[in-house]
């Protein structure tokens, strides 16, 4: 009788811990996403698209506000200057001054590459889906160089519009994501987003340089480096409008 009671108590305790852990995992991921984006942000970034036979560098400025609004505008090279991408909720528009047209990215193109990089339009427009369309679980905790790194496995919900079997994120206790691995449904690693450089900028510790590379083609990668960033600044709502995408007012 006593034994049974003890067993029940232990089971309940274990279940309780598991639950607490799950909640923890989700909040770790949410904190990481929030940390990266802030309430609002204004950043200048450099994107390097590398292929075995060529390489291309672009500098752009990106603004974000809240969870779902962002605007990216290319500064360099000159021939691409003014190309912009606006996202609002799940929709995405692009503007090119050469054709002077705002184009809404149709659903059929969401899976395609964004500005020729290894990121898809979807990666850009819906980066925060990772929080609520997945079940998160802590795989392990490890200490390295004085920081704690949580390894979190995120499995998409059955009806989530995500093709990955699972994603594994390594998140430091200061909310910096060190690696983000995408696995297919057989458990094979397909692509990895790695933080190559972590440092302080805009008053936060963030990943300064990140690289997206595919397992099948290790020679091809895209790197995004943050040149400067300001967090939690006051950005007008008018910044994230189609007219501003077309006619920059700044």
């Amino acid at each position: 009788m006593n034994k049974q009671l003890l067993l029940t108590a232990v089971t309940m305790l274990l279940a309780g811990t598991a639950q607490a852990q799950e909640r923890d995992a989700t909040s770790i991921v949410r904190d990481a996403v929030n940390h990266w984006r802030g309430l609002s942000s204004d950043a200048v970034m450099t994107m390097v698209i590398h292929r075995p036979d060529w390489e291309r560098t672009m500098t752009m400025r990106a603004w974000t506000k809240g969870d779902d609004r962002s605007l990216v505008r290319v500064l360099e090279p000159t021939k691409d200057r003014g190309n912009g991408t606006l996202t609002d909720d799940n929709s995405m528009w692009s503007f090119s001054p050469k054709v002077n047209r705002v184009i809404k990215i149709p659903s059929s193109m969401m899976g395609q590459s964004w500005m020729g990089s290894d990121f898809s339009n979807k990666d850009v427009a819906r980066a925060d889906d990772i929080v609520d369309q997945y079940d998160h679980r802590i795989l392990g905790v490890e200490e390295a160089d004085g920081v704690t790194i949580y390894e979190i496995e995120s499995i998409p919900h059955e009806d989530a519009a995500v093709v990955w079997g699972r994603e594994v994120l390594s998140i430091r206790d200061d909310h910096v994501v060190t690696t983000h691995r995408f696995y297919d449904q057989d458990g094979e690693l397909v692509k990895t987003l790695t933080s190559l450089e972590i440092g302080e900028m805009g008053g936060r510790t963030i990943a300064l340089r990140q690289r997206m590379s595919k397992e099948e083609t290790p020679e091809e990668w895209t790197e995004i480096a943050v040149e400067s960033v300001d967090y939690d600044i006051d950005l007008p709502d008018s910044l994230f409008t189609l007219s501003n995408l077309r006619n920059p007012r700044e």
Partner: protein
Amino acid sequence: MHMLAVLSRLAWRNLWRNHRRTLIMLLAIILGTWAMIFMTALMRGMVSQMVADGISSLPGHVQVHHPDFRDDPSVANLINVPDSEIAERFNAANFRQWASRVRVPAVITSEYDSRGVTLVGVDPALEDGLTFVDYREVEGRFLESADDKGVVIGRKLADILNTEVGKRIVLMSQDPDNEIADRGFRVVGLFTASVKAFEEQFVFAGKTTTQNMLRIGDQVSEIAVLGDDYRDVEAEFQKTLELINDGVTVQRWTEVDRFLGTMLGVMDGFVLVWIVVIFLALSFGLVNTLVMAVFERVREIGLMLALGMRPKDILGQIILESLLLLAIGLALGSALAWATVQPIRDGIDLSMVSEGMEMMGVSSVLVPELLLSDVVLANVVVLILGFFASLSPAWRAAQYEPIEAITKV
């Protein structure tokens, strides 16, 4: 009447006086008839297959759409009658089979690739036997109900996407407000189709699930009605017109796919042309045979005329001779054609050239289709044209002057 019997006997005997020449001519007629009927059967089979495959890609002999759906088959052009009401009306109408479906362009994405496809939201209970997918041939399973959360894709598409039964894929499309509508689905089945292109093009999901994903409530984009015979769908067409006429277009399949519809019509004309062409080749041999037969018997014909046989009987005798020859040839030729169709009536496997055949939209088994009407047509056309072809030598024989003919050396 007595005269006809005498003439027939004369014609029959004359026919076998030079039996070698007659046999050769007979052989030519038999071969010609065989070619007419056998090749027609093959071509009929090919066209039928093409039409059947074509119809099966847009199943339903009579179809109902939004008026603009044909030009823009998007989610914006839905039938503006709720599906439940459609079901009520059509169930009461005693069709052989009918189904309503959602049909939109979509993008299917796996971890490795993405493809443009046609997403068809179906109610599997209504579609069984209507669609080109054989439920029992599906690897895994077909959808089980209209709100099945799974998706059934073609085997070829699965290869391209590097996915398989049990894995998840994402389908992306647009809702009526042009917002992205997407959802993850688990692949529950892989279908095979006789036309490989269908395996790449069509993706089946539950109708209700698709409606929810596209946020279109209880609306559908297509109603399809199956008739008993695809050649005659007029009854179903009229009945459908009566059932639903609120701002929709009702079309027969011949209008939905004009190419196929036209082809079926052209085929009948083509059979006739084919028969006439073969006959033209045959007729040179036939006329030549008769001319020779007449030439050999000039003196004999002169004697008959001198003894009092009337020219029109000479005419009749020669024509009878030619018709007898044709009749025997036609009978044997038709029998031969029938006999060659029998062993292959289940179809000829053309899988070794299947890639080329698919480019024409034809599946790789060719089933010959021997129609009685084609056999009758070939026989009648040959007899009638043969009659006219033999008129000229017979006419010449009947015009001989008896004295000249008898004394001809």
